[in-house]
Symmetry: C2
Subunit: 182 residues, 2 copies
Amino acid sequence: MSSPSPDVATRAARGVEPQAASGVPVEADLGWALGVVFRQYVKASGAALEGLPGGPRGYQVLATTNSEGPKRQLDLAAQLGVDRTVMTYLLDDLEKAGLVQRRPDPADRRARLIAPTEQGIEALCDLERKLRATEDHMLGILDESERASFRMLLQRLAMKANAIDPLHNACVLAEADDPADT
Amino acid sequence: MSSPSPDVATRAARGVEPQAASGVPVEADLGWALGVVFRQYVKASGAALEGLPGGPRGYQVLATTNSEGPKRQLDLAAQLGVDRTVMTYLLDDLEKAGLVQRRPDPADRRARLIAPTEQGIEALCDLERKLRATEDHMLGILDESERASFRMLLQRLAMKANAIDPLHNACVLAEADDPADT
DNA sequence: TATTGTTATACTCTATAACTATA
DNA sequence: TATAGTTATAGAGTATAACAATA
């Protein structure tokens, strides 16, 4: 990467005029908060997803292919934010566990369509219940309307971020969140 | 990990009564949204933090020790959610760059107090400005009040998660699956 | 004996590159 | 030539274990 200006450490080492920091507490840093909450979720969901190949990723493959229909591996990888090579390993494990199947794409013999098996769908129901409990516990300090707000705002940010990517992800928009929750 | 019941894949492979999935779209999954947004932030902040040893972690060390005063490595590691061995390497790099200093703790000769140098404070000011711009860009699709709401809600969740126990909150949250959970 | 911090090692996750089979 | 998927390999990041100094 060509940097037009010296990097932070270099400039700092020169001892440029020191000035008082604004003293923003780390708690106000979006990156810190995102990291803390994200790590908490990964750890917490790890218990709910114990035994599922791929953990959170495995769940997302099941949930996506179940709700949106069979998908090609490349599309699935893009939507879930993983490399296509990682997707191969992930699907290998899920297939071995009998949770998904690779079917030939009638429209393109190079591609494989990924779909959950009957067992995969059955497992998904169980996982969704556990995950919802985990999520609710994590959001426990927020009241009902705050939870809904947080979910909605986060979801909007995520969908926007996902749409920015040079991918095909245009189908997801009419999202009903979860008014039927509880 | 002792699992009292067969894992997901094992149970699914047995072919237990298949039933219709609830069809929750992956966009409604908190884990998916958190992952997407977190990855986006890491990627975006990478540009703002270019040249800073440790990237986001390096910034958090500077921000924390600047706003909360000198801290011992172990406390810093716990607060930032990294292993103490990782903290050693991170501080090595930050110290070499002249951004922080290790001072002996007068109260405990085993411990070191981490404090930003003058250069570190100066660099922090610059970083805070850049990061704030990055954050605002990422939250771009939200209006002012929505941004404030999201920041507040996320911050409350993060502070709660961090308060439980920065190192062992996974164990606490693992019990969220119990029916006794609220 | 327990704890702080360091070091060396090993492991996990992810990305890069080369390969095949199709298009 | 370009693309979907696979495989092998390398790299970054992280955790585990052993160690020295101190409590």
